[in-house]
Protein backbone atom coordinates (compact mmCIF):
# COMPACT_ATOMS: atom_id res chain seq x y z
CA UNK A 1 0.00 0.00 0.00
CA UNK A 2 2.86 2.35 0.73
CA UNK A 3 6.60 2.27 0.87
CA UNK A 4 8.31 3.35 4.08
CA UNK A 5 11.69 4.87 3.31
CA UNK A 6 12.72 5.99 6.77
CA UNK A 7 11.38 5.62 10.28
CA UNK A 8 12.83 6.22 13.70
CA UNK A 9 10.00 4.66 15.56
CA UNK A 10 7.51 2.17 14.26
CA UNK A 11 5.66 1.28 17.44
CA UNK A 12 2.66 3.39 16.67
CA UNK A 13 1.90 2.01 13.27
CA UNK A 14 -1.75 1.71 14.00
CA UNK A 15 -2.08 5.47 14.43
CA UNK A 16 0.12 6.15 11.44
CA UNK A 17 -1.86 3.79 9.26
CA UNK A 18 -5.01 5.61 10.17
CA UNK A 19 -3.35 8.90 9.31
CA UNK A 20 -2.10 7.59 5.98
CA UNK A 21 -5.46 6.10 5.22
CA UNK A 22 -6.98 9.52 5.65
CA UNK A 23 -4.37 11.05 3.40
CA UNK A 24 -4.89 8.41 0.74
CA UNK A 25 -8.64 8.50 0.79
CA UNK A 26 -8.52 12.23 0.62
CA UNK A 27 -7.30 11.95 -2.92
CA UNK A 28 -9.76 9.44 -4.33
CA UNK A 29 -11.66 10.63 -7.37
CA UNK A 30 -14.81 12.56 -6.73
CA UNK A 31 -17.42 13.93 -9.01
CA UNK A 32 -17.06 17.66 -9.23
CA UNK A 33 -20.07 19.90 -9.19
CA UNK A 34 -21.44 20.35 -12.68
CA UNK A 35 -20.51 23.42 -14.63
CA UNK A 36 -23.08 25.84 -15.88
CA UNK A 37 -25.49 24.11 -18.22
CA UNK A 38 -26.19 27.21 -20.23
CA UNK A 39 -22.61 28.08 -21.07
CA UNK A 40 -20.33 25.09 -20.77
CA UNK A 41 -16.80 26.36 -20.35
CA UNK A 42 -14.01 24.33 -21.91
CA UNK A 43 -10.37 24.64 -22.89
CA UNK A 44 -9.93 25.81 -26.44
CA UNK A 45 -7.34 24.04 -28.57
CA UNK A 46 -3.73 24.84 -27.76
CA UNK A 47 -1.14 24.58 -25.04
CA UNK A 48 -2.27 25.68 -21.56
CA UNK A 49 -0.49 26.46 -18.32
CA UNK A 50 -2.40 26.31 -15.07
CA UNK A 51 -2.05 27.04 -11.39
CA UNK A 52 -3.99 25.98 -8.34
CA UNK A 53 -3.81 27.02 -4.72
CA UNK A 54 -5.55 25.43 -1.76
CA UNK A 55 -5.81 26.32 1.91
CA UNK A 56 -7.38 23.71 4.12
CA UNK A 57 -8.29 23.23 7.74
CA UNK A 58 -9.72 19.78 8.32
CA UNK A 59 -10.96 18.59 11.66
CA UNK A 60 -10.82 14.86 12.32
CA UNK A 61 -11.85 13.01 15.46
CA UNK A 62 -8.45 13.10 17.12
CA UNK A 63 -6.62 15.93 15.35
CA UNK A 64 -6.91 18.96 13.09
CA UNK A 65 -4.90 19.26 9.91
CA UNK A 66 -4.02 22.74 8.66
CA UNK A 67 -2.44 22.69 5.24
CA UNK A 68 -1.55 24.75 2.23
CA UNK A 69 -0.50 23.46 -1.14
CA UNK A 70 -0.23 24.80 -4.65
CA UNK A 71 0.56 23.35 -8.00
CA UNK A 72 1.25 23.68 -11.70
CA UNK A 73 -0.41 22.16 -14.73
CA UNK A 74 0.95 21.96 -18.26
CA UNK A 75 -1.27 20.39 -20.87
CA UNK A 76 -2.54 20.50 -24.41
CA UNK A 77 -6.15 20.68 -25.50
CA UNK A 78 -6.94 19.16 -28.88
CA UNK A 79 -10.09 17.69 -30.39
CA UNK A 80 -11.93 17.92 -27.08
CA UNK A 81 -9.31 15.99 -25.12
CA UNK A 82 -6.67 17.09 -22.63
CA UNK A 83 -3.21 15.63 -22.18
CA UNK A 84 -0.40 16.77 -19.94
CA UNK A 85 0.94 16.65 -16.43
CA UNK A 86 0.72 18.37 -13.08
CA UNK A 87 2.68 18.72 -9.86
CA UNK A 88 2.09 20.11 -6.39
CA UNK A 89 3.98 20.98 -3.26
CA UNK A 90 2.73 21.93 0.14
CA UNK A 91 2.98 21.70 3.86
CA UNK A 92 0.71 21.09 6.78
CA UNK A 93 0.50 20.82 10.52
CA UNK A 94 -1.28 18.28 12.70
CA UNK A 95 -2.65 19.33 16.06
CA UNK A 96 -4.51 17.02 18.41
CA UNK A 97 -4.56 15.31 21.73
CA UNK A 98 -2.47 12.35 20.58
CA UNK A 99 -1.10 13.55 17.28
CA UNK A 100 1.01 16.64 16.63
CA UNK A 101 3.60 17.65 14.11
CA UNK A 102 4.11 18.76 10.55
CA UNK A 103 4.46 17.39 7.07
CA UNK A 104 5.51 18.44 3.61
CA UNK A 105 4.03 17.09 0.39
CA UNK A 106 5.27 16.68 -3.15
CA UNK A 107 3.20 15.06 -5.84
CA UNK A 108 2.90 14.78 -9.59
CA UNK A 109 1.14 12.84 -12.27
CA UNK A 110 -0.58 12.92 -15.61
CA UNK A 111 -3.55 15.07 -16.59
CA UNK A 112 -6.21 13.96 -19.04
CA UNK A 113 -9.96 14.06 -19.55
CA UNK A 114 -12.43 15.93 -21.70
CA UNK A 115 -11.74 19.57 -22.49
CA UNK A 116 -14.36 20.78 -19.98
CA UNK A 117 -13.22 18.66 -17.02
CA UNK A 118 -9.51 18.16 -16.48
CA UNK A 119 -8.74 15.03 -14.50
CA UNK A 120 -5.50 14.84 -12.55
CA UNK A 121 -4.15 11.43 -11.57
CA UNK A 122 -1.56 10.72 -8.92
CA UNK A 123 1.63 9.15 -10.24
CA UNK A 124 3.71 9.83 -7.15
CA UNK A 125 2.82 11.36 -3.80
CA UNK A 126 5.66 11.85 -1.30
CA UNK A 127 4.76 12.71 2.29
CA UNK A 128 7.49 13.75 4.68
CA UNK A 129 6.11 13.37 8.18
CA UNK A 130 7.63 14.72 11.36
CA UNK A 131 5.02 14.01 13.98
CA UNK A 132 4.49 12.87 17.51
CA UNK A 133 1.95 10.09 17.98
CA UNK A 134 0.91 9.48 21.58
CA UNK A 135 4.20 10.90 22.75
CA UNK A 136 6.35 8.93 20.31
CA UNK A 137 8.30 10.84 17.67
CA UNK A 138 7.89 9.60 14.13
CA UNK A 139 10.00 10.93 11.27
CA UNK A 140 9.29 9.18 8.05
CA UNK A 141 8.89 9.58 4.34
CA UNK A 142 6.07 7.78 2.66
CA UNK A 143 5.79 7.46 -1.09
CA UNK A 144 2.46 6.67 -2.63
CA UNK A 145 2.17 5.33 -6.14
CA UNK A 146 -0.52 5.20 -8.79
CA UNK A 147 -2.23 2.29 -7.09
CA UNK A 148 -2.46 4.05 -3.74
CA UNK A 149 -4.15 7.26 -4.73
CA UNK A 150 -6.72 8.20 -7.29
CA UNK A 151 -7.22 11.60 -8.79
CA UNK A 152 -9.36 14.65 -8.94
CA UNK A 153 -11.75 16.25 -11.40
CA UNK A 154 -11.67 20.02 -11.77
CA UNK A 155 -14.94 21.54 -12.94
CA UNK A 156 -14.42 24.58 -15.14
CA UNK A 157 -16.57 27.49 -14.07
CA UNK A 158 -15.79 30.18 -16.63
CA UNK A 159 -13.67 30.27 -19.73
CA UNK A 160 -12.80 32.51 -22.60
CA UNK A 161 -10.63 31.33 -25.47
CA UNK A 162 -7.50 32.44 -23.65
CA UNK A 163 -8.33 31.98 -19.96
CA UNK A 164 -10.18 29.57 -17.71
CA UNK A 165 -11.05 29.36 -14.04
CA UNK A 166 -12.36 26.30 -12.29
CA UNK A 167 -13.68 24.82 -9.10
CA UNK A 168 -11.09 22.71 -7.31
CA UNK A 169 -12.63 23.28 -3.89
CA UNK A 170 -15.79 21.22 -4.23
CA UNK A 171 -14.11 17.90 -5.06
CA UNK A 172 -11.47 18.42 -2.37
CA UNK A 173 -14.15 19.17 0.23
CA UNK A 174 -16.09 16.09 -0.86
CA UNK A 175 -13.02 13.93 -0.48
CA UNK A 176 -12.22 15.12 3.02
CA UNK A 177 -15.84 14.70 4.07
CA UNK A 178 -15.77 11.18 2.66
CA UNK A 179 -12.68 10.55 4.79
CA UNK A 180 -14.57 11.60 7.91
CA UNK A 181 -13.18 15.11 8.18
CA UNK A 182 -14.87 18.43 8.69
CA UNK A 183 -13.10 20.61 6.17
CA UNK A 184 -12.89 24.36 5.78
CA UNK A 185 -11.25 24.68 2.42
CA UNK A 186 -10.72 27.47 -0.04
CA UNK A 187 -9.10 26.84 -3.36
CA UNK A 188 -8.54 28.40 -6.75
CA UNK A 189 -7.70 27.05 -10.15
CA UNK A 190 -6.84 29.06 -13.24
CA UNK A 191 -5.19 28.48 -16.58
CA UNK A 192 -4.13 30.55 -19.56
CA UNK A 193 -3.50 29.59 -23.17
CA UNK A 194 0.16 30.07 -23.92
CA UNK A 195 -0.45 31.15 -27.51
CA UNK A 196 -2.39 34.19 -26.31
CA UNK A 197 0.38 35.45 -24.07
CA UNK A 198 1.93 38.60 -25.43
CA UNK A 199 4.59 38.54 -22.71
CA UNK A 200 7.47 36.40 -23.90
CA UNK A 201 8.34 34.85 -20.56
CA UNK A 202 5.55 32.37 -19.82
CA UNK A 203 7.25 30.87 -16.71
CA UNK A 204 7.63 34.33 -15.16
CA UNK A 205 4.01 35.15 -16.04
CA UNK A 206 2.78 31.94 -14.45
CA UNK A 207 4.89 32.60 -11.37
CA UNK A 208 3.06 35.90 -10.97
CA UNK A 209 -0.27 34.14 -11.53
CA UNK A 210 0.62 31.58 -8.86
CA UNK A 211 1.67 34.25 -6.37
CA UNK A 212 -1.57 36.11 -7.01
CA UNK A 213 -3.66 32.98 -6.48
CA UNK A 214 -1.85 32.20 -3.23
CA UNK A 215 -2.34 35.71 -1.90
CA UNK A 216 -5.99 35.84 -2.93
CA UNK A 217 -6.63 32.47 -1.36
CA UNK A 218 -4.96 33.64 1.84
CA UNK A 219 -7.15 36.75 1.88
CA UNK A 220 -10.25 34.68 1.27
CA UNK A 221 -9.35 32.17 3.94
CA UNK A 222 -8.71 34.97 6.42
CA UNK A 223 -12.12 36.45 5.59
CA UNK A 224 -13.89 33.12 5.93
CA UNK A 225 -12.20 32.19 9.20
CA UNK A 226 -11.83 35.50 11.00
CA UNK A 227 -14.41 37.65 9.23
CA UNK A 228 -13.77 41.07 7.79
CA UNK A 229 -11.93 41.93 4.65
CA UNK A 230 -8.96 44.17 3.91
CA UNK A 231 -10.28 46.10 0.92
CA UNK A 232 -6.97 47.78 0.20
CA UNK A 233 -5.45 44.35 -0.22
CA UNK A 234 -8.42 43.14 -2.22
CA UNK A 235 -8.09 46.11 -4.57
CA UNK A 236 -4.36 45.49 -4.95
CA UNK A 237 -4.98 41.85 -5.85
CA UNK A 238 -7.71 42.69 -8.36
CA UNK A 239 -5.45 45.34 -9.88
CA UNK A 240 -2.71 42.73 -10.26
CA UNK A 241 -5.17 40.36 -11.94
CA UNK A 242 -6.15 43.10 -14.38
CA UNK A 243 -2.52 43.85 -15.06
CA UNK A 244 -1.94 40.18 -15.90
CA UNK A 245 -4.93 40.23 -18.22
CA UNK A 246 -3.28 43.03 -20.20
CA UNK A 247 -0.56 40.59 -21.25
CA UNK A 248 -3.12 38.26 -22.82
CA UNK A 249 -4.70 38.75 -26.21
CA UNK A 250 -8.47 38.98 -26.32
CA UNK A 251 -9.52 36.07 -28.45
CA UNK A 252 -13.07 35.06 -29.19
CA UNK A 253 -12.33 32.95 -32.26
CA UNK A 254 -12.81 29.65 -30.44
CA UNK A 255 -16.50 30.37 -29.99
CA UNK A 256 -16.41 30.66 -26.21
CA UNK A 257 -17.99 33.84 -24.98
CA UNK A 258 -17.80 36.87 -27.21
CA UNK A 259 -15.82 40.05 -27.55
CA UNK A 260 -17.67 41.45 -24.57
CA UNK A 261 -16.89 38.62 -22.15
CA UNK A 262 -13.92 38.75 -19.82
CA UNK A 263 -12.52 36.99 -16.79
CA UNK A 264 -9.38 37.31 -14.72
CA UNK A 265 -7.31 34.64 -13.03
CA UNK A 266 -9.11 35.36 -9.75
CA UNK A 267 -12.68 35.70 -11.06
CA UNK A 268 -13.84 32.49 -9.42
CA UNK A 269 -12.03 33.36 -6.19
CA UNK A 270 -13.90 36.67 -6.01
CA UNK A 271 -17.13 34.82 -6.78
CA UNK A 272 -16.39 32.48 -3.85
CA UNK A 273 -15.67 35.44 -1.62
CA UNK A 274 -18.90 37.16 -2.64
CA UNK A 275 -20.88 34.00 -2.00
CA UNK A 276 -19.26 33.65 1.41
CA UNK A 277 -20.17 37.25 2.26
CA UNK A 278 -23.74 36.71 1.12
CA UNK A 279 -24.00 33.53 3.15
CA UNK A 280 -22.69 35.42 6.18
CA UNK A 281 -24.06 38.93 5.63
CA UNK A 282 -23.93 39.77 9.32
CA UNK A 283 -20.14 39.94 9.02
CA UNK A 284 -20.24 42.77 6.50
CA UNK A 285 -21.58 46.30 6.51
CA UNK A 286 -23.64 47.50 3.57
CA UNK A 287 -20.73 49.57 2.32
CA UNK A 288 -18.46 46.50 2.48
CA UNK A 289 -20.97 44.28 0.71
CA UNK A 290 -21.31 46.98 -1.94
CA UNK A 291 -17.55 47.01 -2.46
CA UNK A 292 -17.57 43.24 -2.88
CA UNK A 293 -20.32 43.64 -5.48
CA UNK A 294 -18.16 46.18 -7.34
CA UNK A 295 -15.21 43.76 -7.20
CA UNK A 296 -17.40 40.99 -8.61
CA UNK A 297 -18.42 43.15 -11.58
CA UNK A 298 -14.83 44.29 -12.01
CA UNK A 299 -13.48 40.75 -12.49
CA UNK A 300 -16.35 39.46 -14.63
CA UNK A 301 -18.00 37.35 -11.92
CA UNK A 302 -21.17 39.43 -12.23
CA UNK A 303 -22.61 41.76 -14.83
CA UNK A 304 -23.06 41.57 -18.56
CA UNK A 305 -19.34 40.91 -19.13
CA UNK A 306 -19.36 37.67 -17.18
CA UNK A 307 -18.26 34.66 -19.19
CA UNK A 308 -20.50 32.44 -17.09
CA UNK A 309 -23.84 34.22 -17.36
CA UNK A 310 -25.66 31.68 -15.21
CA UNK A 311 -23.24 32.07 -12.33
CA UNK A 312 -23.38 35.85 -12.74
CA UNK A 313 -27.18 35.84 -12.64
CA UNK A 314 -27.13 33.68 -9.53
CA UNK A 315 -24.76 36.05 -7.78
CA UNK A 316 -26.74 39.08 -8.89
CA UNK A 317 -29.93 37.54 -7.52
CA UNK A 318 -28.31 36.88 -4.13
CA UNK A 319 -26.94 40.41 -3.91
CA UNK A 320 -30.30 41.88 -4.92
CA UNK A 321 -32.11 39.91 -2.23
CA UNK A 322 -29.64 40.92 0.48
CA UNK A 323 -29.75 44.59 -0.45
CA UNK A 324 -33.53 44.49 -0.79
CA UNK A 325 -33.73 43.19 2.78
CA UNK A 326 -31.33 45.86 3.95
CA UNK A 327 -33.31 48.53 2.12
CA UNK A 328 -36.43 47.54 4.03
CA UNK A 329 -34.55 47.88 7.32
CA UNK A 330 -32.97 51.17 6.27
CA UNK A 331 -36.34 52.64 5.35
CA UNK A 332 -37.84 51.45 8.62
CA UNK A 333 -34.98 53.12 10.46
CA UNK A 334 -35.05 56.26 8.34
CA UNK A 335 -31.32 55.74 7.69
CA UNK A 336 -30.18 58.03 4.88
CA UNK A 337 -26.55 56.84 4.79
CA UNK A 338 -27.63 53.23 4.59
CA UNK A 339 -30.13 53.92 1.82
CA UNK A 340 -27.45 55.83 -0.07
CA UNK A 341 -25.00 52.93 0.21
CA UNK A 342 -27.68 50.55 -1.03
CA UNK A 343 -28.32 52.79 -4.03
CA UNK A 344 -24.60 52.74 -4.84
CA UNK A 345 -24.52 48.97 -4.52
CA UNK A 346 -27.67 48.58 -6.61
CA UNK A 347 -25.92 50.39 -9.45
CA UNK A 348 -23.26 47.67 -9.50
CA UNK A 349 -25.74 44.86 -9.23
CA UNK A 350 -27.66 46.33 -12.14
CA UNK A 351 -31.06 45.40 -10.76
CA UNK A 352 -33.23 48.15 -12.19
CA UNK A 353 -36.10 47.49 -9.80
CA UNK A 354 -33.82 47.75 -6.80
CA UNK A 355 -32.17 50.88 -8.18
CA UNK A 356 -35.57 52.50 -8.58
CA UNK A 357 -36.68 51.52 -5.09
CA UNK A 358 -33.43 52.70 -3.55
CA UNK A 359 -33.58 56.04 -5.36
CA UNK A 360 -37.17 56.56 -4.22
CA UNK A 361 -36.12 55.74 -0.68
CA UNK A 362 -33.26 58.25 -0.96
CA UNK A 363 -35.71 60.91 -2.06
CA UNK A 364 -38.06 60.12 0.79
CA UNK A 365 -35.46 59.77 3.54
CA UNK A 366 -32.54 61.95 2.46
CA UNK A 367 -34.69 64.57 0.78
CA UNK A 368 -33.31 64.18 -2.72
CA UNK A 369 -34.82 65.61 -5.86
Amino acid sequence: MYKKTHSKNGRRWSSLLILLFLLITSSVPAKASPASASSIPAFSDGQWLGKFSIHAVVGFTSFTWNGFYNGDLNFTSAAGELNGDWSLKGSGTYNGTTLNGKATYNANGPLDGPSDTPHIKVEKFDIHLSITVSGTAVNTTVSLGPGDAGGLDIALVSATCSQAVGDITTPVVANYEAAGGSPTITGSFTAIRVGDLTAADAPQYMQEVGDLLDKTEALKQKATQAGGLDFNELNALVTKAEELAKALKKNSQCGLGNNKSFITVITDTIDNLANFALANPQLFTTEELGRIAYAAVRVGAMGSGAANSQQAADLQSKFAKEFDDRLTDAVDNNNCDEVTNITVAAAAIGDKGLIQQAKQAMTAICGGN
Binding site: T160, S162, Q163, D196, T198, F231, N235, V238, T239, E242, E243, A245, K246, A247, L248, K249, K250, N251, N259, K260, F262, T285, E287, G290, R291, A293, Y294, A295, V297, R298, G300, M302, G303, S304, G305, C336, D337, T340, N341, T343, V344, A347, A348, I349, G350, K352, K359, M362, T363, C366, G367, G368, N369
Partner: protein
Protein backbone atom coordinates in the same frame (compact mmCIF):
# COMPACT_ATOMS: atom_id res chain seq x y z
CA UNK B 1 -30.02 102.14 -31.34
CA UNK B 2 -26.87 101.50 -29.32
CA UNK B 3 -29.00 100.76 -26.22
CA UNK B 4 -30.95 98.19 -28.21
CA UNK B 5 -27.68 96.52 -29.36
CA UNK B 6 -26.40 96.38 -25.76
CA UNK B 7 -29.75 94.96 -24.64
CA UNK B 8 -29.68 92.26 -27.37
CA UNK B 9 -26.04 91.34 -26.60
CA UNK B 10 -26.96 91.09 -22.92
CA UNK B 11 -29.87 88.75 -23.70
CA UNK B 12 -27.59 86.60 -25.90
CA UNK B 13 -25.00 86.34 -23.11
CA UNK B 14 -27.63 85.35 -20.57
CA UNK B 15 -29.11 82.73 -22.93
CA UNK B 16 -25.62 81.37 -23.71
CA UNK B 17 -24.85 81.04 -20.02
CA UNK B 18 -28.13 79.24 -19.42
CA UNK B 19 -27.53 76.93 -22.36
CA UNK B 20 -24.05 76.04 -21.11
CA UNK B 21 -25.40 75.37 -17.66
CA UNK B 22 -28.12 73.09 -19.00
CA UNK B 23 -25.68 71.16 -21.16
CA UNK B 24 -23.72 70.37 -17.99
CA UNK B 25 -26.74 68.83 -16.37
CA UNK B 26 -27.86 72.00 -14.76
CA UNK B 27 -25.90 71.14 -11.69
CA UNK B 28 -23.56 74.06 -11.61
CA UNK B 29 -20.56 74.20 -9.32
CA UNK B 30 -20.93 71.96 -6.29
CA UNK B 31 -19.02 71.79 -3.05
CA UNK B 32 -15.93 69.70 -3.45
CA UNK B 33 -16.15 69.61 -7.22
CA UNK B 34 -13.99 71.57 -9.61
CA UNK B 35 -15.19 73.16 -12.79
CA UNK B 36 -15.70 70.86 -15.74
CA UNK B 37 -12.71 71.15 -18.03
CA UNK B 38 -12.93 71.82 -21.72
CA UNK B 39 -13.76 68.71 -23.68
CA UNK B 40 -13.33 67.83 -27.31
CA UNK B 41 -16.80 66.40 -27.51
CA UNK B 42 -19.61 67.96 -25.55
CA UNK B 43 -21.27 65.44 -23.29
CA UNK B 44 -24.45 63.98 -24.69
CA UNK B 45 -25.20 62.75 -21.22
CA UNK B 46 -28.50 61.66 -19.88
CA UNK B 47 -27.89 64.46 -17.36
CA UNK B 48 -29.27 62.38 -14.55
CA UNK B 49 -27.22 62.23 -11.37
CA UNK B 50 -26.53 58.73 -10.16
CA UNK B 51 -27.34 59.88 -6.64
CA UNK B 52 -29.24 62.94 -5.59
CA UNK B 53 -29.57 64.28 -2.06
CA UNK B 54 -29.12 67.60 -0.30
CA UNK B 55 -25.51 68.13 0.72
CA UNK B 56 -24.18 65.62 -1.75
CA UNK B 57 -21.39 67.05 -3.88
CA UNK B 58 -20.80 66.56 -7.57
CA UNK B 59 -18.10 64.51 -9.21
CA UNK B 60 -17.25 66.25 -12.47
CA UNK B 61 -16.53 63.76 -15.24
CA UNK B 62 -13.88 64.70 -17.77
CA UNK B 63 -13.82 61.95 -20.36
CA UNK B 64 -15.30 62.68 -23.74
CA UNK B 65 -18.58 61.06 -24.63
CA UNK B 66 -17.43 59.54 -27.90
CA UNK B 67 -14.37 58.74 -29.91
CA UNK B 68 -12.59 57.41 -26.85
CA UNK B 69 -11.63 53.99 -28.20
CA UNK B 70 -12.36 50.46 -27.04
CA UNK B 71 -10.42 50.85 -23.79
CA UNK B 72 -10.94 54.47 -22.78
CA UNK B 73 -9.33 56.42 -20.00
CA UNK B 74 -12.00 57.43 -17.50
CA UNK B 75 -11.14 60.73 -15.84
CA UNK B 76 -12.84 62.90 -13.27
CA UNK B 77 -12.03 65.87 -11.07
CA UNK B 78 -10.84 65.20 -7.55
CA UNK B 79 -13.40 65.84 -4.84
CA UNK B 80 -12.35 67.54 -1.62
CA UNK B 81 -12.16 65.10 1.32
CA UNK B 82 -12.66 62.11 -0.94
CA UNK B 83 -10.65 59.09 0.20
CA UNK B 84 -11.66 56.85 -2.67
CA UNK B 85 -13.95 56.54 -5.67
CA UNK B 86 -16.11 53.87 -7.21
CA UNK B 87 -16.84 53.78 -10.91
CA UNK B 88 -19.60 51.85 -12.61
CA UNK B 89 -19.83 51.29 -16.36
CA UNK B 90 -23.12 50.11 -17.80
CA UNK B 91 -23.52 48.65 -21.27
CA UNK B 92 -25.99 49.90 -23.85
CA UNK B 93 -28.81 47.91 -22.25
CA UNK B 94 -28.17 49.55 -18.89
CA UNK B 95 -26.72 46.41 -17.33
CA UNK B 96 -23.59 46.76 -15.21
CA UNK B 97 -20.57 45.73 -17.27
CA UNK B 98 -17.42 46.82 -15.43
CA UNK B 99 -16.62 48.52 -12.15
CA UNK B 100 -13.66 49.96 -10.32
CA UNK B 101 -12.78 50.96 -6.78
CA UNK B 102 -9.69 53.02 -5.95
CA UNK B 103 -8.10 56.23 -4.82
CA UNK B 104 -7.08 57.77 -8.14
CA UNK B 105 -9.02 60.09 -10.40
CA UNK B 106 -8.43 58.25 -13.64
CA UNK B 107 -8.35 54.66 -14.77
CA UNK B 108 -8.36 52.86 -18.09
CA UNK B 109 -11.17 50.42 -18.82
CA UNK B 110 -9.87 47.12 -17.52
CA UNK B 111 -8.25 48.66 -14.47
CA UNK B 112 -4.92 49.82 -15.79
CA UNK B 113 -3.15 53.08 -15.13
CA UNK B 114 -1.30 52.80 -18.43
CA UNK B 115 -2.89 52.33 -21.85
CA UNK B 116 -3.74 48.66 -22.40
CA UNK B 117 -3.18 47.12 -25.84
CA UNK B 118 -6.35 47.47 -27.89
CA UNK B 119 -6.48 43.70 -28.47
CA UNK B 120 -5.76 42.69 -24.88
CA UNK B 121 -8.08 40.55 -22.81
CA UNK B 122 -10.52 42.33 -20.54
CA UNK B 123 -13.60 44.49 -20.95
CA UNK B 124 -14.24 46.40 -24.16
CA UNK B 125 -16.36 49.52 -24.50
CA UNK B 126 -19.49 49.24 -26.62
CA UNK B 127 -21.45 52.07 -28.18
CA UNK B 128 -24.18 53.59 -26.05
CA UNK B 129 -22.60 52.76 -22.70
CA UNK B 130 -22.93 55.00 -19.65
CA UNK B 131 -20.72 55.56 -16.62
CA UNK B 132 -20.75 57.30 -13.28
CA UNK B 133 -18.43 57.90 -10.34
CA UNK B 134 -19.19 58.09 -6.62
CA UNK B 135 -16.85 59.65 -4.04
CA UNK B 136 -16.47 58.39 -0.47
CA UNK B 137 -14.78 59.99 2.50
CA UNK B 138 -12.38 58.15 4.81
CA UNK B 139 -15.23 56.87 6.95
CA UNK B 140 -16.91 55.27 3.95
CA UNK B 141 -19.67 57.85 3.68
CA UNK B 142 -20.82 58.87 0.20
CA UNK B 143 -19.96 62.54 -0.26
CA UNK B 144 -20.40 63.14 -3.99
CA UNK B 145 -21.82 61.62 -7.13
CA UNK B 146 -21.46 62.29 -10.82
CA UNK B 147 -24.11 62.34 -13.45
CA UNK B 148 -24.72 59.19 -15.49
CA UNK B 149 -22.84 60.06 -18.67
CA UNK B 150 -22.92 58.47 -22.11
CA UNK B 151 -19.74 57.09 -23.59
CA UNK B 152 -19.04 55.39 -26.90
CA UNK B 153 -15.87 54.19 -28.60
Amino acid sequence: MQRIRIFVIGIILILSTLACNLSNGGSGPQPGGAATPASGNQPQSKSEPLLSAPGLGTVQLKTDTQGVGAKPLFQWEAVANAARYQLILNDSSGASYWAWDGTGTQIYLGGSESPPPADSAGPTLEAGSTWAVIAFDASGKVIASSEVRSISP
